[in-house]
Symmetry: C2
């Protein structure tokens, strides 16, 4: 494709994903110096249960990318309405992400944010680099669910709450 077509396709993609809502999560790990790292993500997706796998997408240009290595641990956090400030903080300047007393290291030293809806402890299984981005595939090891909450979502460049129940699948 020539450049104009690529730009048009990129605009089409951006327009599509403004309209496609996603759940908001926080992913934590350790950087290469052993310090805490974490970021807000909207790309968490289940990749099957036998074995239990999850994928998420990251830019290779992200500051934390070099710390995501096969075999390292990460903690996934599902977020609810009460985690709006946390989601904003972990999407903001890196130096402020861990400055509050709202997290603790787990037995592997990987940050756990208290007060989130659910947590999944995982190990990085595979990293698939695609152009300037990467699909990170992690294996779930164990986890905890806390109190269910109205989910925190991202849509039209804004954080929104989950709304009305329309139809249950049981």
């Amino acid at each position: 494709m020539v450049n104009d077509e690529i730009n048009e396709a990129a605009e089409a993609l951006k327009g599509f994903f403004r309209n496609h809502a996603s759940g908001v999560a926080i992913i934590t790990g350790l950087d290469l110096a052993g310090g805490p790292l974490g970021f807000t993500a909207t790309s968490l997706t289940s990749l099957g249960t036998k074995p239990p796998l999850v994928s998420f997408n990251v830019a290779q240009g992200a500051s934390f990318y070099k710390s995501l290595l096969v075999g390292r641990r990460v903690n996934l956090h599902a977020l609810g309405l009460s985690n709006l400030e946390l989601a904003s903080r972990l999407a903001g300047p890196r130096e402020h992400r861990f400055e509050l007393d709202n997290w603790r290291p787990d037995t592997n030293g990987v940050p756990v944010f208290e007060g989130t809806v659910a947590i999944l402890h995982c190990e990085i299984l595979q990293i698939v680099e695609v152009e300037q981005n990467a699909v990170v595939i992690v294996r779930a090891l164990d986890g905890e669910q806390f109190a269910p909450e109205t989910p925190l979502l991202y849509h039209q460049r804004a954080f929104i709450a989950g709304g009305e129940l329309l139809r249950s699948n049981g």
Copy 2:
């Protein structure tokens, strides 16, 4: 890990993703005989804009899996509240998915569902098989946005609507 640990990890993953909401989309393509295929998906995620890529996850055991081949076209549809029936239908029995007069073939013959919020025409770029599942990576070619709508989401085994605006990122 021994079997008990794998089962425990699978339960932890299921519990986590019951609490993690996701946007609902419809993906369409053509089967190997040239007939329409389509399914409801909750795994659509952007994988960058330069070039414009999208990923979604599928089970290799899915009936349509063998029709997802590199180079073939697929159409992604973002859904809103008014597409609840369509989302349910495309998650139901295959023989009923295309029986209504609510779709048309695009210039490549790939189904387009009318009345959805946005559509992205794509080509399959790469398929990464992981255990019993696969990450399908597609390249966006062009698309259209129609009228914005309250988004359709999946959470706690139910279709829900998007709710209150909490904080805009501009």
